[in-house]
Symmetry: C2
Subunit: 362 residues, 2 copies
């Protein structure tokens, strides 16, 4: 095979493709990028068995071919090449010749046919959605998904498509629910996508269109000449409507930035491993307090309050995660009592946070 | 004690003082910053037994006192405080009260008298030098000092003060020598300062004046309201003049940026652990080649050459380190033969690099 392509274009493609190269695999060939040269195109493929990418790059192809190249080495070489046109050439199955300007490399390659290609999703079923919407949806919910997979379902995000896109993430201690108007008019579709795949997808999204293809077991996101594919999590997602109740006894409105800065300060005294609550005492003001081995902190915030007075312990990390992704200048928080989840609700979003039980003297 | 000071000023002082707080010490009190409040000043002191800092901050002192505060906790709290005036107050020896705006912290403190203070250098002997010169001197030589201390002397930099400042660093495989005009007219002074201390000092230097105090065993750098102190390395530094010989057979001039980029590319194929040489073949051009398990690379650079043709193997990391700190558009390299050190010389600098023996077929 022989092909010429600009350094920048190749570099961008490799960077995206690298996202689904496993850093260490029991199948060493998966640490490679598959490079397919055909019909005026280079296709870069990677696959970490759970998810994969195909990147399509226009190129000046001289002769076709398929080879697998160790991803880290390829990426490092292309990064440091001088700007200009890069020539990639193989004479046999053992070596690839890479040239740019006066700089020449020869690196070991592997037979492209050994590479386990993605089992591509058929293009029968598709949903169109703006990349920006999916980007927001991921950013604003993903932190609520579980990071450890004792409960596999909790490591996924529910993407529910109808005239609105509803996204749900939960980890047993909190729930994030967001809705976005997308005007999709096909059959309603529910996909449970691993948060790890969405995290990688998030880094690649820009602001153009996107088409989502899906089957019962797989989903593929097609945009900007890229195809990012992932397995779906199998099963029924949690029935969160059952968890929602709205008989609140206390409602407050608080400045979001002030609350964020205050709770952020409270975490200074919390070591990673602790599950120390920040204690909110809600009266005329909101008093935030925390006490740990390192010391204690207290701070008062002005609020608009209605309903009962209340003392409740919350995980400061959860409050920070939510306040960081909201845009509203003021946020509304709703409480039942100190043992019932706290709700943070506004236009298009509901966040639910379970309280931490307060012991005497905490 | 009680004292008020602006957040910014205190933060800057703590950041500098933190540089000489050991991250882990067998003496836990050394993980503290000693805070001395007296006569309109806060003095922050830290000490990692090899080196230490004293930072002098003007402040609005209400009552004097001396306490030791866990450095990481103090730093984290002050960083996240809102902008404004911070009040620090202690009522007894167990707790410090920190207040800024509506935010209040109480943190554990320790008795300041337990803190092993620096054994301060007397101010009898001093040298004045611009911070910028010392900053350049450190940056342009320190990479040549040894990082492991099988030979303690090699972990230090020789600072030799007369009308010029001459700095020497070496690690057994390379030597860096730089000279700077400083116009010091006192008795010549030679100080062997641990490179670790100079590295921390480097991060703190700005562009003002500096005074250096020294004894036989210690040195203190005084500038911008700070005092950074270090032990000296005891003994005679290597007689490098004895190592210098100037009967070269080959001389080349090469574009510095091109050589840097070329050798940098060569390192792509070198794993950290290897000691693979980049092989320079010097004829009409300079051909740089490297071959490793990962593949091979070759590149030709235009040069001005005089003298014999030559093949020599050099550690690419060493060449990169030197090319990065030089300013010259073109650099001159001098060679005797493939087994004799290579010299890179110019106005005010000499770098010496030992070659790597080439085996058949490398």
């Amino acid at each position: 095979m022989e092909v010429k392509i600009s350094k920048d274009k190749l570099m961008t493609g490799i960077t995206t493709c690298m996202r689904t190269v496993p850093s260490k695999s029991t199948m060493p060939i998966l640490e490679c990028i598959l490079m397919t040269v055909q019909d005026g195109e280079i296709i870069l493929t990677s696959n970490d068995t759970e998810m994969g990418s195909e990147i399509f790059l226009e190129a000046d192809t001289v002769s076709d071919g398929v080879v697998a190249v160790e991803a880290k080495t390829l990426s490092a070489i292309i990064t440091k090449m001088p700007d200009g046109e890069i020539t990639l050439k193989t004479d046999d199955e053992n070596e690839m010749f890479i040239k740019c300007g006066r700089s020449k490399f020869n690196i070991a390659i592997r037979d492209g046919n050994e590479f386990p290609k993605l089992n591509m999703v058929s293009r029968e079923n598709s949903i169109k959605v703006a990349q920006e919407i999916l980007k927001d949806a991921i950013k604003e919910t993903i932190f609520s998904a579980s990071v450890n997979d004792t409960n596999k379902m909790m490591t996924g995000l529910l993407l529910s498509f109808s005239d609105i896109l509803k996204v749900v993430a939960l980890d047993g201690h909190r729930i994030a629910i967001r809705e976005y108007t997308i005007g999709y008019d096909g059959e309603p579709v529910k996909l449970i996508v691993p948060s790890k795949a969405l995290q990688e997808l998030y880094k690649t999204l820009t602001d153009g269109d996107m088409e989502i293809f899906y089957t019962d077991s797989q989903v593929a996101f097609s945009f900007d000449g890229k195809l990012i594919e992932s397995r779906l999590i199998d099963g029924e997602f949690f029935d969160i409507d059952r968890l929602m109740h709205y008989d609140f006894n206390t409602e407050i409105k608080v400045d979001r930035q002030e609350l964020l800065a205050c709770v952020d300060r409270a975490t200074l005294l919390v070591k990673e491993i602790d599950r120390k609550p920040v204690v909110f005492t809600i009266g005329e003001n909101l008093k935030a307090e925390i006490t740990t081995q390192l010391g204690s902190m207290s701070e008062e915030l002005e609020i608009e309050a209605s309903g009962n007075q209340l003392v409740i312990g919350l995980n400061p990390r959860f409050i920070i995660d939510i306040m960081r992704v909201l845009d509203d200048a003021k946020v509304s928080m709703y409480f039942v009592d100190s043992k019932t989840p706290c709700y943070i609700k506004g236009e298009g979003y509901i966040y639910v946070v379970l309280p931490i039980q307060l012991r005497e003297g905490v």
